[in-house]
Symmetry: C2
Subunit: 249 residues, 2 copies
DNA sequence: TAAATTTGTCTATTGATATAGACAACTATA
DNA sequence: TATAGTTGTCTATATCAATAGACAAATTTA
């Protein structure tokens, strides 16, 4: 089934280099739990044989993962798994950043990277039920768990209703707490649309990824319990570090 | 924003070739609605300039998408968009294949590709609440909409409780209808875990993809209204043709 | 009809990717 | 202390990916 390391399947002249494909497979095997932390990877020659490629090609894949901080290679001994399994990020009616990751990480927080006021684009206006061009506040945030970026999000709010939410966010470091200042005690996830793509230059910088990585993208609308839209957001998650757990369905 | 064609961001020596990255971006722009059906793409020289690559590199990307049936190039005239937007596949408490795609496609159905009886693997046993190694029935299916594959799934059922569900599935072409024969009138999605990866050889064949494509993967458990697990499943969706809409949370 | 625009084809060159083989350096173990 | 097993480095070669330039072929527009 999905991505056991035993899998055959390497595609030539696909536009994705063999070393990147093999790196992907190793990452997947780790995420799935085929290798626990500190476990030794099979030796390079064995991997090369398994995938039907040259040993040097396997070495390129391993070099990329060492660079990425996932593996550690020791001459004469072997190559070992450093990283933990993927975080399981919950998405449901009451998705909240920090509560969802409890138990999986010792530390997590949201950093406000930037904020601005801008006219609403077509899709933001639709999501928030505003006229196109109406003023909205945009908050750019990054979610971090144990010091590693696990999400990068842009959130839009009606500028008239939520004037000053940028300052509140900077102060509290929490969307939930910031909304509470505007009398929003509870909010629900109304809709979420999910897609995946290759990371672009912005993703690489924002999420500290290596080129060629895959990102999961969610576009969501949060509403008050009576259905009034309050937040439109687009979030990006590194597929190699995060899986999305759809809960409370 | 996500993948406006205006975006800069092409990564060199990433292990993903420039032509594949550009093909991805064009696909995304189409999916997002930047190009409607039959619309003309910008000329090759303009695309080359926009992405900062040679015209021949853009041509490689276009050639791949022509091969894929997404674009049509006409000498002297231009390059045109053939394919429709991505399907929006709903996932929620009551996810059903054919009801969910109503209105988006004129035709849709599930094909039973294979079935077998096998001992439950660790994760299947966990999902179904069975002992590891207990007999389970595996159904391999493909979802098609307007003749194009939009999903590829494996579903596992307790072999004792659902003996003969493979025949029922072959006959009815519907999981819901097959379960009804065993007295299951209603079932709910208990959990869904979502990830993304590069397509492997099996995905390419199963979903009729070109090498280098991305697949979304869901692993889910369906339960009866009183919480009894009845189905464990793993589904793969071509990210270029399908987005997942998380609904009714 | 002429000019401008656009895709198609060809040649040539450079750099990244992948293969092949040999051997050094380091570690663990018989 | 050999020996086997493993990662690290080097050279060489072939193929793919990307750049560069020129011109042909088809279509649209002035």
């Amino acid at each position: 089934m999905v991505g056991r390391l035993a899998a055959d399947s390497i595609e030539r002249r696909s536009g994705v280099s063999l070393w990147r494909q093999i790196a992907d497979k190793i990452l997947q095997a780790i995420a799935i739990g085929d290798f626990t932390e500190n476990a030794a990877l099979p030796p390079e020659v064995a991997l090369a044989e398994r995938y039907g490629v040259n040993r040097h090609t396997v070495r390129s894949a391993i070099a990329a993962l060492v660079q990425e901080g996932v593996l550690r290679a020791e001459q004469g001994r072997g190559t070992f798994v450093l990283s933990r399994k993927r975080l399981s990020y919950p998405i449901g009616a009451r998705t909240r950043f920090s509560t969802g990751l409890q138990g999986q990480t010792s530390e997590r927080h949201i950093v406000l990277l930037a904020s601005s006021i801008e006219p609403a684009s077509q899709r933001v206006a639709e999501g928030l039920g505003l006229a196109r061009g109406a003023e909205v506040i945009r908050l750019e945030t990054r979610g971090e768990a144990d010091g590693r970026p696990v999400s990068r999000a842009a959130g839009w709010f009606d500028a008239r209703r939520f004037a000053g939410i940028d300052a509140a966010m900077a102060e509290t470091g929490s969307i939930t707490a910031s909304l509470a200042r505007f009398g929003i005690d509870d909010y629900l996830r109304q809709s979420t649309v999910l897609s995946a793509r290759h990371a672009d230059a912005a993703d690489l910088a924002d999420l500290d990824l290596q080129p060629g990585a895959i990102v999961l993208v969610t576009v969501a609308v949060n509403v008050t319990p009576d259905g009034q839209p309050i937040q439109f957001s687009e979030s990006r998650f590194p597929a190699e570090r995060v899986e999305l757990k759809l809960s409370a369905l």
